[in-house]
Amino acid sequence: MLKIENLHATAGDKEILKGISLTVNSGEVHAIMGPNGSGKSTLAQIIAGHPGYVVTSGSVTYEGKDLLAMAAEERAQAGVFLAFQYPIEIPGVTNAYFFRSAYNEVRKANGMEELDPIEFLDFMDKKLKLVEMDEAMLHRSVNAGFSGGEKKRNEILQMAVLEPKLAILDETDSGLDIDALRVVAGGVNALRTRENATIVVTHYQRLLNYIVPDFVHVLAHGRIVKSGGKELAVELEARGYDWVMEAA
C-alpha cells in the first residue's frame, strides 16, 4: 500500500529526514517510535502533504501512485488520513458542516453521490457512538474551545467519517487520560479491517497496549535505526531510547 524509499526532507535549511525506507501493507499496523525531535511527526506530515517541508530525494509510493506529486486534498480523497498531534481550531465552522463538506468532497472524488444534511446526520449517529461523543459536538465549531481529549476524539471521529485506507495517528495519545485513551484506541481498533493500514506515531509504549502493532520502528536523527515486532516497544519502555541509538 505504502512504500517509502530513501526519503530525505528539509524544513528551512535543516535536514530532518535523512533516508527513511518503510513498507506498509494492507491490514498491518506499524508503530513509529522515537525520542522528541527524531523526525516522527515530520514523516507523518510529509505523507499527508504538509506544505512546510521540502523532499530533497527519495520517493513515496501509495497504491502504485507517486504520493509526493499529489496535493494534500488528493491524498485525502485517495484514502490517506492524518490525525493531527495538535488539531486546528476553526471557530465559525461547525463540525457538522466541516465533516459533511469533507465527506462529500471525498465521495465526489471517488464517483459517489453526496449525502444531504439529513442523510449525513443519520450517518453520523453510528460514528459518534464509536468515539462516545454526543451529537451536540456536531453543532460546535471545529475544535474551538475543545479540551485536549475532545480534540483527539474529534480527530478519530473524522477518521471514522472518512474511513481511510491509510491512517496515520500522530501522537494521538499525548495529553489523554486513561479513559480517553481507551475510547480513542477502541475507535481506531473498530475501524481496522484487512484492507486498511495504520501507522501509529508515538513517544510512549502506552498506546500500543491498546492498539497492538505488527511492526515497531525506532526513528532517531531522521533515520529508522531499529525495527522489530511489538516486543520492541516493551523493551523501549523498559530501557529507554539510548541503547538503540548507541547501537545504531
Binding site: 499527508a48 506544505p51 486534498e73 488539531p87 486546528i88 471557530p91 465552522v93 469533507a102 472524488a109 444534511p117
Partner: protein
C-alpha cells in the same frame, strides 16, 4: 467657505424658510453655521487621516424629493431587501421620507413611544427639545452638524423605566432610483430609562437599479439609563456607488449595557462612528463589527469609548475582509478618565486581506489617566492561516473550498456575537454565500 457649503447655505435657506423662531430653528441654524465653519474634513484632520471625503465634498447633494406617485415598493419588497423578521416593529423610510404604508409598529407596550421625528415634534416637542442634539451636538463634527441642519425626519424612541421591549424595533432606510444625487440625513433619538431594555436594528439598503450615487448621513443619539440595556445593530448595505456616514453617540448610566454591532458591506465610501461614554459605575459596552469590502470600496470605522466612571468594562471586536483594491481603516480610541479606576478595556481588530491590492490602516489609540486599570488592544492584519488550510485539505477539501470556508469562518466568528437569531442567521447566510458561492445549510 467652499463652493459646496455655500450651495448648502442656499439650500438651507430654502428648506428652512418657514422655520420661524423657537428651539428647533435655533438648533438647526446653529448646526448650519457650525457645518459652514468646519467645512468637510481633509486628510490633515487626524480623525480623517486615511479617508478622503473629497468625492462627497465636491458634490452638492440635493434635498430628497417628496414622493408624488403611489409607493413603488410593497412590504414584501422591504422584507426581501433587508435581513430580519418581518414581524418586528418596523419603520420604513424611502429616500429619507417615512412610508406609513410600509411600516407596522402598533404592537408595542402602551407606555413605550416609537414615532417618527416629525410626529414627535408635534406630540411632545418638550421631550424632543430636551434630548435632541444633546449627545450629538455636532461640535467639531461636520457630518453631525450637517445632519442636524438638514434632517427631514427620523425616529424617536422612548422606553420608560422598567419596560422591556421584546421584539426588535427595525428602522429601515431604503434608497430607490429617485435617490440619485440626493442627500439623506436620517436622525435617531433613543432615550431608555432605568432598567428598561430594547433592541434596535437599523438597516440601510438600496432598491436597484441605481444610477449616480447618493449620500446617507445618519446620526443616532442614545441615552441609556441606570441598569438599562440597549442592543443596537446597524446593517449597512448601501448601493456601491453611494456614500454612507453614520455616527452613533451613546451615553450610559450606572450598571447599564450598550451592545453595538455594525455590519458594513455597501457604499463606495463609508464611515461608521460608534462613540460611547461610560458615565456611571459598572457600565459595560460591547462594540463589535464586521466589514466586507471589494473593488474600489473604502470602509472606515472609528470607535471611541470614554471610561468616565470607575469599574466599567468595554469589549471591542472588529473584523474586516478586504478583497480587490479595497481600503479599510480602523481607528479604535479608548479614553480612561483619572476617576475611572478598575477600568477593564479590551479592544481587538483583525483584518483579512484576500488580495495583494487591498489595504488596511489600523490605529489603536489608548489614553489612560487612571493607574489601576486593565486595558489591552490587539490588531492583526493577515492572510488565511496556512496551518488551518492544510488541516482542511488533509480532510479532502479542495484548496478553493478550504480557502472559502476559512474566509467565511473568519467572518462567522464575529457574527456569532449577534444575539438576535434572525439577524445572525441572515448575515451568516449572506457571508457564506459571498465567500463560498453556495448555500449554508
Amino acid at each position: 467657505m467652499s463652493s459646496s457649503t455655500e450651495a448648502y447655505e442656499q439650500a438651507f435657506g430654502a428648506l428652512r424658510a418657514s422655520g420661524g423662531t423657537g428651539w428647533l430653528p435655533a438648533l438647526r441654524r446653529e448646526a448650519m453655521d457650525r457645518f459652514s465653519a468646519l467645512g468637510f474634513p481633509t486628510t490633515r484632520n487626524e480623525d480623517w487621516h486615511f479617508t478622503s471625503v473629497t468625492p462627497i465634498a465636491e458634490k452638492v447633494f440635493k434635498i430628497a424629493p417628496t414622493r408624488t406617485g403611489p409607493a413603488t415598493l410593497s412590504p414584501a419588497d422591504i422584507t426581501a431587501l433587508v435581513i430580519g423578521d418581518p414581524d418586528w416593529h418596523r419603520l420604513v423610510f424611502v429616500n429619507g421620507r417615512f412610508e406609513a404604508s410600509l411600516s407596522a409598529f402598533a404592537g408595542l407596550p402602551a407606555e413605550v413611544r416609537v414615532t417618527t421625528l416629525a410626529e414627535a415634534l408635534k406630540e411632545s416637542p418638550e421631550f424632543v427639545a430636551e434630548h435632541l442634539g444633546k449627545l450629538a451636538s455636532g461640535e467639531g463634527q461636520t457630518f453631525t452638524a450637517f445632519n442636524t441642519a438638514f434632517a427631514q425626519d427620523g425616529v424617536v424612541i422612548h422606553v420608560p423605566g422598567g419596560e422591556v421591549v421584546e421584539a426588535p424595533v427595525h428602522i429601515v432606510h431604503i434608497a430607490d432610483s429617485h435617490a440619485a444625487g440626493v442627500g439623506i440625513h436620517p436622525r435617531l433619538l433613543v432615550v431608555v430609562e432605568p432598567l428598561a431594555q430594547i433592541t434596535i436594528v437599523e438597516s440601510y439598503a438600496c432598491a436597484g437599479p441605481m444610477s449616480g450615487g447618493y449620500l446617507t448621513n445618519a446620526v443616532a443619539e442614545i441615552e441609556i439609563g441606570n441598569g438599562a440595556r440597549v442592543d443596537h445593530y446597524k446593517i449597512q448595505r448601501e448601493s456601491t456607488d453611494a456614500f454612507h456616514v453614520g455616527t452613533t453617540q451613546v451615553r450610559q448610566g450606572r450598571d447599564s449595557m450598550y451592545h453595538s454591532f455594525s455590519y458594513a458591506a455597501g457604499a463606495a465610501i463609508s464611515r461608521t462612528n460608534v462613540y460611547t461614554q461610560l458615565a456611571g459605575e459598572n457600565a459595560e459596552a460591547r462594540l463589535n463589527g464586521l466589514y466586507l469590502i471589494d473593488g474600489a470600496q473604502h470602509a472606515d470605522h472609528q470607535t471611541f469609548v470614554e471610561h468616565l466612571a470607575p469599574a466599567c468594562a468595554s469589549r471591542e471586536l472588529y473584523k474586516g475582509i478586504l478583497d480587490g483594491g479595497s481600503h479599510g481603516v480602523f481607528n479604535g480610541k479608548v479614553y480612561v478618565d483619572p476617576i475611572a479606576q478598575k477600568t477593564d478595556g479590551k479592544q481587538t481588530n483583525h483584518a483579512l486581506l484576500l488580495s495583494d491590492h487591498a489595504r488596511i490602516d489600523t490605529k489603536p489609540q489608548l489614553e489612560i489617566f487612571a493607574d489601576d486599570v486593565k486595558c489591552t488592544h490587539g490588531a492583526t492584519v493577515g492572510r488565511l492561516d496556512e496551518g488551518a488550510l492544510f488541516y482542511m485539505k488533509s480532510r479532502g477539501l479542495g484548496a478553493e473550498n478550504a480557502r472559502a470556508l476559512l474566509t467565511y469562518a473568519f467572518a462567522a466568528e464575529v457574527l456569532e456575537t449577534i444575539e438576535v437569531d434572525a439577524l445572525r442567521e441572515g448575515l451568516e447566510a449572506l457571508a457564506f454565500a459571498r465567500f463560498t458561492q453556495s448555500e449554508l445549510r
